[in-house]
Amino acid sequence: MAINFEIDLPEERLEGQLPDHKPPMTAHEVVAEANRCLYCFDAPCTAACPTSVDVPEFIRQLSTENIEGAAKTILQSNILGYSCARVCPVDVLCEGSCVYHQLNEKPIAIGRLQRHATEFALDTGLRIFTPGPDSGRRVALIGAGPASLACAFELRLLGHSCVLFEARPTPGGLNTNGIAPYKLPAADAIREVDHLLDIGGIELRMGAAVGTEVTIGELLQDFDAVFVGVGLGLDTPLSAAGAEVEGVVGAVEWIERMKLEGGYTIPGRIRSVAVIGGGNSALDVVREMVELGIENVTLVYRRDEAGMPGYGHEWVKAKQWGARGLWNTLPSAVLSENGAVTGLRCVKTRLVANEGGRASVETIAGSEFELQCEMVVAAIGQSKLTELFGAIPGLELDGGKVVIDVLSGQTANEKVFAGGDCVNGGKEVVNAAHDGKVAARGIDAYFKSLQ
């Protein structure tokens, strides 16, 4: 499959059971949809895109069947334009800002059009970009997720060579191991990485965990700059009593197994699953469980429906697929028999207004009840990789997030740059792609300042 690195995904993986929710358009559909675009001046869709993809331009190119031109327009703004086309929350970004909403008409299907153009580039191995003249500078990038990939690609355009240090056996970061499969299956995420690496001059070292296989000190010594694009750490464990049983898993861990682990399945006896949390990871797991055929999938959230940090449109879809929400509910204990989960003991909560801040959650005495379930997925956050950050001299942190100069991606250590989830605490792929690009330009400016 990949030509720039060796990887073989197991054939039998659970994610294969999930359908593509936004399947590719036919060439005819593409032209018809592209012809609907008004070609707005100073287009709101472009303004809504964190990477400022010139949406009207690429859509016009699609309308004239200039598909290569369309791919170039997208990828020159966002080299991860393929995964973004499939995973971006377009409802709140480009498509959400389409002026057709004001006319009560369907917005242009920008995501699907973008997928058509970029998938063509992947399918045909289209080579659009050439690296800049060799600068002799080398940059180490920690992590091979969207932020590092976007950064490395931009660095190559500027002539700097790159080495990506990835702890996992697969590249692509969350695109490969965390995105809901009905948006982007792992193999397609890997395909995009492969296509990106076609530019050459990017070395990918997998299974190379920084801190164990190689130290920060070595990177700082051997490279001219270091980019930190490590994302977030492990799932925050459920603190409820009795949570240390097999049937209780973290959301990120479960999603990764579902996507990548050969032969992994949900045991057949499991008919009901409780997913704890109110963020987008929780919503993803809910939808994935429902679509994998789990009969009773319940979202358990300590605040109310409106207070969920996850996207409303994702919850609407989850509900349409049959999930139910249990609001103002806090799990206090996991119930189990012989090591198998049988339910959750929960307590109802209420919100108490806080002056000038988010309401706090207060449990209601005597409101305990039991929710029957055979599996619990905790989507209540991820740890920050503080140990790694601690090893980087001079790095400044804010609540576990790396502090950078937003215009250059530079950290308090002038030789170290950062972007993506480890900086923003967990946003979209498109934000990471933008961060990576900005940091690459910051690194280039830093190199120039040394001359």
């Binding site: 032209v31 018809a32 012809n35 008004l38 070609y39 707005c40 001046f41 100073d42 709101p44 309308s63 002026v99 057709y100 004001q102 006319l103």
Partner: protein, 430 residues
Amino acid sequence: MSDLKVNFAGIKSPNPFWLASAPPTNSGAQIMRAFDEGWGGAVWKTLGQPITNVSSRFGATQYRGTRIVGFNNIELITDRPLEVNLKEITEVKKRYPNNAVIASIMVETREEWKDLIKRCVDAGADGLELNFGCPHGMCERGMGSAVGQEPRVCGDITAWAVEDSTVPVIVKLTPNVGNINLPARAAAASGARALSLINTIKSIIGVDLERGVLLPRVHELGTNGGYCGPAVKPIALFMVGQLGKDPEVNIPLSGIGGIDSWRDALEFIFLGASTVQVCTAVMHRGYRIVRDMLDGTERFMKDHGYETIDQMVGKALPSYTDWGHLDLNYEVVAEIDSELCIGCQLCVTACRDGAHDCISTVEGTRVPVVDVEQCIGCNLCHHVCPVPECLEMVEVDNGKEPMSWKAYEAALARGENPPHPGKSTHQTHF
């Protein structure tokens, strides 16, 4: 109650909607089906000497997903035996005595014209239409538009036909001329009872970029064809209007060119046509489009108090004048309804790149503003705005007396010193 019946140069028809001479009138079976749907008349696919057609023979222009905006063909006249066509004309007239059946004809020599005319009249045709319009293939053999482009030849052959015919002779004109009035006057002067226009426009519909060959492609070659369909309607309207107001062409007109709906048909009628002929729209969607043509026309007439088609013929002609008579002091400016505006700013781009740069964006809103002092009222923004009634041109009472260019020049010639008419906008942007 509105009456759609027409008497077109002595040819009676239950309504003014006729099928033009073309593939939809290729056979008696087709024409009878068309009459069943409601068509008032049909001009038979042109009869003449035997020919052979090529495949393929049609091409089309598509615009942003809309198919057949324009259409062209390289088909010749009928390729069916004359005897069969004549027998079918007789049969159709027998079964549909109240519908108009016109024989379109095109031959070369005087003898051929005389013979064919007699046979068509004997077959029962209500009228003849001389095809002086076909701009491809037949003109290479000295017929069709080769005749229509030469007013003298056009007049001569018309005179033969009029002499030989006992039914009304209609002359079908080609638009492939510099001045449509000249062949029209020649035909009228030679005794033509009516004119029909336009035939198709000489065209190349497109090029197959992969093969580097003209479209439609006949093996490895292509040729120029005749252009028709919705895209040609404005050209046809112009030519009908030209003849409608020409006092030397004082005979009925049958309007042809891109008619797709009752609205299109009425525009031709308002410019002087008293019947209309349709082809491309039927080739695209079939005979049943006539149902709405009849229904829509009747409703329009009822709503506007017209009792007969004749009352509408030429209704817009008094407004058709020379540019020099237009009032230079009449002023409209663009006005944007901020409630309806969706913020696409197409008007901004259009005015900036294609007009007078007097619509701008405003900080904090996507609704643009019009600089009415600089707006020259060109109407471009109105046409690009995708929202109905959002961007309209509104009249400005500028207190000026009407003044056309001709009136202005006349005043100057009289030694007067009137103010220069029109709005002066003198902005510079760098």
